[in-house]
């Protein structure tokens, strides 16, 4: 057995380390992933005015930015039993939806693509052939003139010739796991560049109602503040046009690129490379009307899509047997002298990420879980999006549960959201049209309960986000967050059962132990966000709300 240490895992948010043990064939037998930064945001949240939780908790993550802001405010609203006006809820949803689109595109092109695309190999591409290649995956490819590819090629050539590759230096170029042709590489790289512009543009949509992004500043307990923007037809119009442009890129570049990737890596997909244990969690949400949600809630065990259980929040528990906490406090047991994780014994602690379990089991959440659960539960809106993709690529639903499939699910979801976000805007316009312009549900803070408990469950780009708040004497007495990456990157417990990251890594074969590209690929497919994931558990060791916290 040989141990491979990868730290830092780059192209993610935060400080993540992975250690994998490979056998003589280079096949991963065991894996440990570890969050390497602790900030203690929950501790900082204590003793503060509950109305301030949003601005502070928003800083949990600058990538998921809006998600924690909203999660914190929603949990406080839940504690006080405040209901918020319809238009305010839609504005919050619009900001969330725009974040989904932005986040997924940035993830695929800027944080993940270089695991599949060999920048140096792209230099040998023929621009005309590239243009032809693009037509295989969509009728009207995005910016597909061969002159354009020539320009990109020349630009890359100049860049490589300069000898200073900046962010592309020291990549595993030439690695045997890179399977795409030169033309395919160039096609995707050209979209890497386009996507840089894309993410800048789509961010404006968030800023229209959020004031700015990252870290928008327009959500308050009881509603939103951007009422003037809502009442300004030009602002709504701007929002619509930004999404329209985004949809164009999604349909003509992102989704086709995913079809290309799935076809190129179909063997791996069929072999289930990067598949976790098949437990999926989704809390659903984003209603359009009384009966239809964007996503369904439900729990899947072991890829059994036929028997989907209803989500029951009381089945969630948080454990810290192998995380650096004990009795609600930090309990850092350090690394080994050579800087590796202490993992020899089954009770060695090795991560700042705590261990959430659903009914005692490790779960995977995220776009893949949402797509699988919503589709399997017969959500009528998502059905055609999934079917079309599976048919075009000639794969089955189960195949999505793999490294490349996880990305495909993310792309399907993006295109699906892009379609239905217009329906949300239209609902907002209807409200304003009929003079329902209320954006804040009035309350007098002094008259609210002095002691209260609340929670919020939200589907955010990376999966299920939950915030729990406890208020005593109008001050926060306890705060707890379980973020999507907390679920997916969980450490083991004494039982040694792996979380999604670790399980997905086992069985992956490395061509070259010195260039662990395959490991990066698996981890990146989850879109890790470590700043989000690291959370201390209830510091007083008490039961928070009604959730079992075993310490």
């Amino acid at each position: 057995m040989k141990k491979i240490v990868i730290d830092p895992i780059t192209r993610i948010e935060g400080h993540l380390r992975a250690e994998v043990e490979v056998d003589e064939y280079g096949v991963v037998q065991e894996a440990y992933v570890s969050g390497q930064l602790f900030r203690g945001i929950e501790t900082i949240l204590q003793n503060r005015d509950p109305r301030d939780a949003g601005l502070l908790a928003g800083r949990i993550c600058g990538v998921c930015t809006n998600s924690h802001f909203r999660g914190a405010v929603s949990s406080v609203e839940d504690a006080y039993g405040l209901s918020i006006p319809k238009s305010a809820e839609i504005i919050r949803d619009l900001m969330s939806m725009a974040l989904f689109i932005q986040d997924h595109v940035v993830h695929f092109y800027h944080l993940h693509l270089l695991d599949f695309v060999d920048v140096v190999y792209a230099l040998g591409a023929d621009p005309k052939a590239t243009s032809k290649e693009a037509h295989k995956y969509v009728k009207h490819p995005f910016r597909n003139s061969h002159e354009h590819y020539e320009a990109v090629l020349e630009k890359l050539n100049n860049f490589v010739k300069s000898g200073r590759l900046g962010p592309f230096s020291n990549g595993y170029w030439g690695h045997s796991a890179y399977k795409l042709t030169s033309e395919q590489n160039l096609l995707l790289l050209s979209h890497y560049l386009e996507a840089l512009k894309f993410q800048t543009n789509i961010s404006k949509a968030i800023a229209i109602f959020g004031g700015k992004t990252p870290h928008p500043q327009s959500i308050v307990v009881g509603g939103v503040t951007s009422v003037a923007d809502m009442l300004n037809p030009q602002r709504l119009n701007d929002f619509i046009f930004i999404i329209k442009e985004a949809k164009d890129f999604i349909d003509r570049a992102y989704l086709p690129d995913m079809r290309l990737l799935v076809k190129a890596y179909k063997d791996e997909i069929k072999a289930g490379v990067g598949r976790a244990n098949g437990n999926f969690l989704c809390v659903g949400g984003y209603p359009f009307d009384e009966t239809t949600n964007l996503f369904e809630s439900g729990v899947v065990y072991g890829h059994d899509f036929k028997n989907i259980e209803e989500f029951d929040e009381y089945k969630i528990s948080e454990e810290v047997e192998r995380a650096w906490y004990e009795k609600g406090a930090v309990c850092y047991t350090d690394l080994n002298d050579d800087g590796t994780l202490k993992t020899a014994k089954s009770d060695d602690k090795y991560s700042w990420i705590k261990a959430p379990r659903y009914d005692g089991k490790t779960m995977e959440c995220g776009p893949l879980a949402r797509v699988l659960v919503s589709y399997s539960k017969g959500n009528r809106l998502i059905k055609s999006f999934v079917n079309e993709f599976l048919e075009a690529c000639e794969i089955e639903l189960l195949d999505l549960s793999s490294t490349v499939g996880r990305n495909a699910a993310r792309a399907i979801e993006t295109s699906y959201i892009c379609e239905y976000v217009f329906k949300l805007v239209s609902n907002l316009i209807q409200n304003v049209k009929y003079y329902d312009t209320q954006t804040w549900g009035a309350y007098k803070f002094a008259e609210l309960k002095a002691n209260a408990k609340g929670r919020a469950f939200l589907e955010v780009p990376r999966g299920v986000l939950s915030h729990f708040v406890e208020v005593e004497g109008q001050k926060i007495s306890n705060y707890s967050v379980i973020a999507p990456t907390t679920w997916n990157a969980t450490p083991k417990n004494y039982d040694g059962v792996r979380g999604a990251y670790e399980e997905a890594l086992v069985g992956v074969k490395l061509a070259d132990a010195k260039q662990p590209l395959e490991v990066l690929r698996v981890l990146h497919s989850f879109d890790p966000c470590i700043a989000c994931a690291v959370h201390i558990v209830d510091t007083k060791g008490r039961e928070l709300s009604s959730y079992k916290i075993k310490i």
Partner: protein, 805 residues
């Protein structure tokens, strides 16, 4: 605040103007005992020979300053804060006395028609109207007397002049016999003048308001016109009762008298035994008093080197004096009868303490430097430079302007007259003694102006110069980074291969020049230097952070990230974007630090946790702590930028109770030279702009006391806010979503912290100018200020927060 200034001279006018320019809301009143508005006494001589009118020498005065004339002050009452004149009572909050000095005459001449002291405009008119063919008797041979003599020389009424000298000296008792002889012989070149040394008035006969006969120890003079140009004394009589006085009104080093609300400035004030005698000293004192009254940063008064000049038709005298000048001294004398030139160097040990030059051409700037620095005197050098040099005669001793300098200025800038000349040099305007010479010099130099040369305004000239300087810096930058291996041809092809529209680049350039408050003519320079930025390596560390600043950075527009990384910066290490990971990224980092030692820019995002020996954050294959990694990278960085609020002071991570002992980058490194760009997150405009300014100018941008670049963090958000008008009108949002919220009223009542925060958010906005928190109706949470999560990040007014604690 109401400030009353007593006095009618240069000091009074200067004080009033200075007060008004510092704070226009002040109420300023001048009380002058004269019937005329303040005028420049330096030019009184011009009134005598009628070359100037009183109007032409009056001092410019801020129009909002109130002026009360004919107010001879009789008394002040510091307790009631009142000033009394013969005909009025004036209340004050602060009083500044600037009554100057009075010549000391042996008897009262105010009622005598043919006798005058030399102090006021009235005296000058008296002299100017002297009967024809009078014999003028001048008492006193000091600088004032000699200057007046020069004036009298040109008057037709004067038939004879007798200079009565009590001792044996002219100008100053420290002058050498040679110098006195030279001055004497020069004065006597005017045939009408005689000098009577060791002589003084014994008696005089008076008849109906006129002196008919004057008897001195040596002479008897019939029908004289008697002039006193002798010693002066502080004019402080009305204040003796209420304020501590010695020779003058005693003040501390901030010009404050024994009453804290009363200041004294100029020749009437005695600061630590010293009484000012020069314009420069008076204005220094005035500045100190004004700053002290307004509670600004203020230095204590200290005496400086003074330079005087006596200019006559027949000789020039320059007198440079150290505040330490006193006998005993040694003297080095360099004289030339042929040139009528004498240089006198007064020394103590090796130090020069005074210089007097008659028709000398020694560089006054050099003399002042030697005196100021106390460096040893090189007599050989002085000897070698005794002759009139290339720069010609000294014209203005205050501004060190020589004949040649004046001619060059006139020719180069096509200066037509004295008014225009003022834009280029203050010569003739500081003490004013050489004004005439400067005016004459400008007229004489008109022939040197090339009539075909286009005349540029001063601004145009200044910009031309600055642009030249910046182009030189850009060239220097190129020279300093030869490893770039990029030629101008490379740039062009690189630019051509970009499929970005040229327009886009230009719009960014315009934006940066505008936001850095550079003149539009810099655009060309900015765009040129952009093309050389590519090779500057950047290491971007993420420590205890949320990646918010990286996320913001990749959303930079004009240029977008694509342009940035392909063309302008070499983003060699940035965990969020780099393709390599683990060992490969580690070795990439080491390579940059090794190969680009001392050249790379280190950008740090996130706080530095110091608790638990820094182990709250471990990075890299060997599990280095964040602090260790930071120290390693910062050691050889050319510049360290702390990006975002966490890197500034720990930000949210260091908010109470700061569980991980987090601090900002500057504190973690114990360094004062870290550039801070706080914000949560920082606007990418400010990141890119700051990088650009560093790369272009090769020096750090000007920063405030928190080391935040002024160009981005100088303006207060409240002052530039789009909702400010509603604040002024008292239109406030009172609760979320109310009528005011829909109409975009002021958010102050909803806890907006714009009044406490300094940044360019209102003008730059976020996400390509889409919006900013105040536009989104929320208000500012002060994220650019230290400790904001414990002070400002809430929706309540600061005062209400304090009350509730």
């Amino acid at each position: 605040m109401r400030i009353v200034v007593v006095g009618g001279g240069i000091a009074a006018a200067y004080l009033a103007n200075r007060l008004k320019s510092e704070d226009p809301s002040l109420e300023v009143l001048i009380l002058s005992e004269e019937p005329y508005a303040p005028y420049d006494r330096i030019h009184l001589c011009s009134l005598v020979n009628k070359s100037e009118s009183l109007e032409s020498i009056s001092m410019p005065l801020d129009p909002t300053v109130r002026l009360e004339l004919n107010q001879k002050i009789t008394q002040i009452d510091p307790k009631r804060r009142e000033v009394y004149s013969k005909n009025g009572l004036f209340r004050y909050d602060k009083l500044i006395i600037a009554t100057g000095s009075l010549p000391v005459a042996p008897f009262d001449v105010s009622e005598i028609e043919n006798a005058a002291i030399f102090r006021s405009a009235k005296d000058c008119y008296k002299i100017a109207n002297a009967p024809l063919k009078s014999e003028f008797v001048m008492v006193g041979s000091g600088p004032i007397g000699l200057e007046l003599l020069e004036t009298l020389g040109n008057m037709p009424q004067v038939e004879k002049i007798t200079l009565l000298v009590r001792g044996k000296h002219l100008y100053d008792k420290h002058l050498s016999i040679d110098a006195i002889a030279l001055i004497g012989s020069k004065l006597r070149e005017d045939g009408r003048l005689r000098i009577s040394f060791e002589d003084e008035i014994v008696s005089y006969e008076q008849e109906s308001g006129r002196i008919t006969k004057l008897v001195t120890q040596k002479l008897e003079i019939e029908k004289p016109f008697l002039l006193f140009g002798i010693g002066i004394a502080p004019n402080i009589d009305p204040f003796r009762e209420s304020l501590a006085c010695e020779k003058g009104i005693v003040t501390n080093l901030f010009m404050q008298t024994s009453d804290e609300n009363i200041y004294a400035v100029g020749e009437c004030a005695e600061v630590e035994g010293f009484i000012a005698g020069h314009v420069k000293e008076c204005t220094d004192e005035a500045n100190i008093a004004v700053a002290h009254i307004l509670g600004r940063d203020v230095k204590e008064f200290s005496r400086q080197i003074t330079t005087d000049m006596l200019k006559t038709e027949r000789f020039d005298l320059v007198d440079v004096r150290s505040p330490d000048f006193a006998a005993p001294y040694e003297k080095v004398l360099i004289t030339s009868h042929a040139d009528s030139r004498i240089d006198e160097y007064f020394t103590q040990g090796e130090r020069l303490i005074r210089f007097v030059g008659i028709n000398s051409n020694v560089d006054i700037g050099y003399v002042e430097t030697v005196m100021r620095e106390g460096s040893a005197l090189d007599v050989n050098y002085l000897y070698q430079n005794r002759l009139v040099g290339e720069r010609g005669r000294l014209i203005c001793s205050c501004e060190h302007l020589y004949q040649k300098d004046l001619e060059d200025l006139v020719a180069e800038n096509s200066i037509a007259d004295f008014a225009e000349f003022g834009e280029y040099s203050h010569a003739g305007r500081v003490c004013g003694r050489c004004k005439k010479m400067v005016q004459d010099g400008i007229i004489a130099a008109q022939s040197l102006i090339d009539p075909t040369k286009p005349k540029l305004s001063k601004e145009e000239k200044a910009h031309q110069k600055e642009i030249e300087a910046i182009e030189a810096k850009v060239a220097k930058f190129n020279a300093l980074h030869p490893q770039n291996g990029i030629t101008s041809e490379n740039f062009e092809s690189a630019l051509e291969s970009l499929d970005i529209a040229k327009k886009e680049l230009n719009s960014w350039v315009s934006m940066v020049t505008a936001s850095m408050q550079l003149h539009p003519s810099f655009e060309d320079v900015v765009s040129k230097s952009l093309r050389v930025l590519n090779r500057v390596p950047i290491i971007w560390l993420e420590l205890s952070d949320c990646s918010g600043n990286s996320e913001a950075f990749i959303k930079s527009t004009n240029p977008g990230l694509e342009e940035l990384i392909f063309d302008y910066i070499s983003l060699d290490y940035h965990e969020l974007l780099m393709s390599s990971a683990g060992d490969a990224s580690e070795s990439a980092l080491e390579a940059v630090m090794r190969e680009q030692k001392g050249r790379f820019v280190l950008i740090v995002e996130g706080a530095v946790p110091l608790g638990m020996d820094g182990k709250y954050l471990r990075i890299g294959p060997k599990g280095e702590t964040g602090l260790a990694l930071l120290q390693k990278c910062a050691k050889d960085a050319a510049l360290v930028i702390a990006l975002g609020s966490c890197a500034y002071d720990g930000g949210v991570v260091a908010a109470a109770p700061n569980p991980t002992g987090a601090v900002g980058v500057a504190e973690a490194l114990g360094r004062q030279d870290i550039i801070n760009l706080p914000g949560c997150p920082t606007n990418p405009i400010n990141i890119v702009g700051t990088l650009l300014s560093y790369l272009m100018f090769e020096e750090l941008p000007k920063c405030d006391k928190f080391n935040r670049p002024l160009w981005a963090y100088e303006g207060r958000i409240h002052d530039n806010c789009e909702r400010r008008g509603h604040y002024e009108l008292g239109e406030f949002v009172k609760e979320w979503g109310d009528e005011g919220a829909a109409k975009g009223w002021c958010l102050f009542e909803m806890g907006c912290k714009g009044p406490y925060s300094n940044a360019n958010c209102p003008t730059m906005k976020f996400n390509a100018g889409t919006s900013w928190p105040i536009q989104a109706g929320h208000g500012c949470m002060g994220c650019v200020e230290a400790g904001f999560f414990d002070k400002y990040a809430n929706e309540r007014k600061v005062e209400d927060e304090k009350d509730s604690d």
